[in-house]
Amino acid sequence: MVNYDVFIKDIAPRKFSIRGKTWVFFLAIIIVAGIIAYIDQLIQGQVVTNMRDYVLWGIYISNFVFFVATSFVGSVAVAILRLTKNPWRTPFVRIAEIITVASIVMAGITIIIDMARPDRLLNLFVHARLQSPITWDVIIIPTYMAISLLLLYFPLIPDFALLKKHFEKTKPKWSKWYGKLSLKWTGSKIQKEVHAKSIAIICIMIIPVGILLQTVDAWLFSTTYRVGWDSTNFAPYFISGAFVSGIGSLIAVIYVVRRAKKLEHYITDFHFDKLGKLLVLACLIYIYFNINEYAMPLFNSKKADSEHLQTLFTGAYSFPFWIVTIGGLVLPTILMLFKKGRKPLPIFIVSILVVIGAWWKRYIIVTPTLMHPFLPIQGVPESWHNYFPSLHEWVITSATLAMALLIITLLVRYLPIIPIQRTMDEQELNKTENKTAL
């Protein structure tokens, strides 16, 4: 990677190909459908969902939890790898930062979709009560959003300056915008010092805030008396789950971006191998907490807990439960233990399994619990005893997922997807220290 001009040319934003355009169009259609469905939900009320008084939270909430979990990738893949000095992260940190921003923004939107009175959103601030876990969420989500935006933006500043120069002749308009975004970056020593320090602070901040975010998310459930949620294990269980779904999404997106942008030269098998190992670690920790959560209660579960577990193991939810546990967690872990399983294509497929599993996992955490209240379900229509999302819920939820993908797509389109300045600095450093890259 000696020729930086070639490097910048490879990385610099390029127009969408036909495929890219089709993809954006496809996402836009889903989003428009979702917006129409949401407007209908606003008009008719949440009666358009299949949620009712017993199953009072459905896929909106599980989808929200999924987004929150996925946003954890910024804390793990960027901050923790940085603080533990793992230089192999460089080519994909920007993708991780983009996923973080997209997920946390969508988490914020998704939770509002679940609110039956979004017109009273301001009440959350005007009448806020600190003892409610929802208020904790109201505090922590915007905080994490702000930090993750900074985490994306700060390392971009020198790259914007480079792009300004790169596009000076070919696309003066673009050059102007990148120039504005680069905040008069010159690359002077003082600027570099402040820059490095700021990024270090953001990276240190995003770890506790990320952990708190996952924790608050878990507390939304574990602060209730509900069977299946009333668990002291819940916060670490959610954090480890977020680890899995974050790294899983990261690998999947990296693979697609690498193919779309032809970055095989920069993101190599080596990186997938490393990420695969990280995902194995995440999965093993998650399996450990799953055993805590589902296997240990077999010994001392109260009657209601036993019923809940029975629903998951052999009852109405056994199919998704075992598919998610085996197909989305255990099998991927085993596959990734082999070196061949960590090659780009196999690990891409595995990560897709993991992400789909992670999404359904949240569904299984949220819904079955609500079907086992302390008093029997009586005096309500038979359909209230079960829950499966309605068409509205599916369309709206698909739209939120599409919106997350669209944010990622657009950011990938307009931002240098591999940190340019950072890569160059590292190359220089390696040259001077006469070291080979890790």
Binding site: Q44, G45, Q46, V47, T49, M51, R52, D53, Y54, L56, W57, D114, M115, A116, R117, R120, L121, N123, L124, V126, H127, A128, R129, Q131, S132, P133, I134, T135, V138, L220, T223, T224, Y225, R226, L370, P373, F374, L375, P376, I377, Q378, G379, V380, P381, E382, W384
Partner: protein
Amino acid sequence: MGDTNKKERRKFLDKGLKVGIAAALGGLAISKITSKINAKSNSLSGEKMELMTTDGTLIEIDASEVMEVQHAEDHDKKYNVREGMPHRKFVMVIDLAKCKNALKCQQSCNKHHYITGDNAWLKVYKMQESKDTAPYWMPTTCMHCDKPACVTVCPVDATFKRQDGLVLIDNERCIGCRFCMAACPYSTRVFNWSEPDQEFTLDMDMINHQYSPEHGGMPSVKGTVDKCDFCPHQVKNNELPHCVTACPNGVIYFGDKYEDTVNNGEETVRLSKLLEEKSGYRLMEGLGTEPSVYYLPPVDRLVDFEDGLEEFTEFKSVDKSE
């Protein structure tokens, strides 16, 4: 908390008694001399009157100086809706031995709270603890817990706990997150999933009703939570909640714990005695929610459990044909 309450209550009773006596005497005197005052209000009449002051001493003043005082008759009724009626603590006792699932309570509740959804606020559960134990009917209302899980988790203070024990909902503030429903272990809360088609909403202006959390369902609001409110709108008029008066079997007692009395529309009984003699208990005591609803166990029943099966509908609690 309890101690200061008691002290305050004692103080209040003490004062109240004195004020009451003085008022009664004063009233008597006033009614006797009103005509005289009206006749000559500005000049001394020379006629003396004996009156008793609030601390019990007799005094003599000129009759012309006696004037009618405007008594705050509503000082017990004027209170902050969020704080509740002072010096009261409402409780309910449900005698399971008497319940035969007549469902009159539910019907009355549905009617008076204009319930249009599919889930009644007052449920009569068909219960059986285990295969070998006797089945029984169990009416449930909101438990109005002293440590309400729903209030703890509400992010906007839309559902709140009052000093008179009631847990109410402000439907004009609720954001519809349904966290309170997830938190309530008694599954007592219901949600307005769509626009509640209540009959009276059309002529809302005509009946000139001001919204108050004290009358749940008046009106129900789309996208907000509803539940049993213990009928403070009835209590304010010195009437019993609708379910209590509707029950043909005197199952439900309602009253004030501070007064230690409860009433089922037929008889007034000592709360403490009733609970002691009939081994009262509360639902899910182990959770520590401290409900305000007590249950008396279904022993020595006068009616067969099976009689209630006639009325039992597993999938319906609101009759919509009416």
